[in-house]
Symmetry: none
Subunit: 225 residues, 2 copies
DNA sequence: GAGGACCCTGAGAGCCCGCTGAGAGACGCG
DNA sequence: CGCGTCTCTCAGCGGGCTCTCAGGGTCCTC
């Protein structure tokens, strides 16, 4: 579940980023309208959080441009309370919801969830590989009757691999999709997390659903090991 | 495309039956859990639509029994809205999606399609030469049923040659494509690796799929030796 | 048949890759 | 403020993969 946050105030952006990641979203940040448009053109987002007050192209402009380009991704607008712009205008321009600053993070989250529910009534079915299952919507997974307790990052990793069973996924792909598009850290992190996952989904069950393909990446066995 | 509908209410069953047939599915109806299990054991279904409220064994029971028997056919649960059971339990027990009654037929159809799409084996183009096969996406290969365990370099070499069956490939080409564009080492490495490959894909099977073309390079027999 | 070019193969050294444990830093919670 | 959790970094280790090298075999040419 990929979210784009367009916000130039560093602290707000960081807070939202952190919060949404903790909830299992993958987050991209754009600090101005140009960058936002660029990102949207190259990535698919489930929803966009858009500040109105931006350097350069403002939020109105961005929103209008998106809609004019036929992009229907739901947009949630953030407005300052002072009301230079009001929400009516925002909705006219093609936004789907709005929130006035200052806002609480829980409210933002609730609105995002509502938006996602509304615009994607198609709930995603449960992913399976043998007796290993993962429900993206309910954010739960397990092996057979046994529920598994995963951290957000582990969950994201497993979900990604479950969507490509029996396919080798490279570490680069994993870094870009599960971590960050522009991940710049030690790629070893993938190995570490694969290790964590194996210790939760395989070792206790005497299975080996995640195979290492040396020099290439990892492969999740469609039969669950 | 064969669908099993487990539903005891005559009118609903009939409506679903009619609708799905019109969409080109082959439909079987079971009015209770016992019959459902019997049918599943003797027929292969692409998907199962399962009502929870059934006389005798209820839907939960049926679903659990199926999974315990190792049957992974996708299951779509129908629940009454009143919520004696909730969908969370259903998903744990091995259902893949659920729908609350009353539901519209279009929605049911859409969900079924989504389920089928997801469970359909992703067809990756598998390269073949006789009984020798190689799946680039899954990064697996074998001869007949026998899986072959190749190192990355061996795999790359075999893949390259399988893409040019019955064609002579020069060592220079191999060095440039399988090794490095500007490879600067002992070209003898190709001979060494062809040797490794032959010992894995040919010798144990008494075949000779890779022919040496003296002074030119190698050719992989399209019939696998 | 002799000579030479070409190819095969076994042995072994080095190194790269992936795995793991330990621990630091950020954050949330009581 | 102390504790627990989660994420990520780092360094060490172990094994297997890659590659080199040299000796011997094979095929072609003259």
């Amino acid at each position: 579940m990929r979210v784009l946050v367009v916000e130039d105030e560093q602290n707000i952006a960081a807070a939202v980023d952190r919060g949404l990641r903790a909830e299992g979203f993958t987050v991209d940040i754009a600090e101005d309208g140009e960058k936002a448009l660029g990102l949207v053109r190259h990535n698919g987002y489930a929803v966009i959080v858009l500040d109105l007050m931006l350097p350069g192209r403002n939020g109105y402009d961005v929103c209008r441009t998106l809609r004019a380009a036929g992009i229907t991704t739901p947009v949630l607008i953030l407005t300052a309370k002072d009301g230079e712009y009001d929400e009516a205008d925002a909705l006219d321009l093609g936004a789907d919801d709005y929130l006035t600053k200052p806002f609480s993070f829980v409210v933002l989250l609730a609105r995002l969830r509502a938006l996602l529910r509304r615009t994607a009534p198609q709930r995603s079915p449960v992913l399976r590989a043998g007796d290993l299952w993962l429900d993206p919507a309910a954010h739960r997974c397990g092996r057979g009757d046994q529920r598994l307790d995963l951290t957000p990052r582990e969950f994201g990793l497993l979900e990604f691999m479950l969507r490509r069973p029996d396919t080798v996924v490279s570490k680069t792909d994993l870094l870009a999709e599960v971590w960050d598009t522009w991940f710049e850290g030690d790629p070893n992190i993938v190995e570490v997390y694969v290790g964590y996952l194996r210790r939760k989904i395989d070792t206790p069950f005497g299975r080996s659903s995640i195979e290492t393909v040396r020099g290439i990446g990892y492969r999740l066995d469609a039969k669950g090991g």
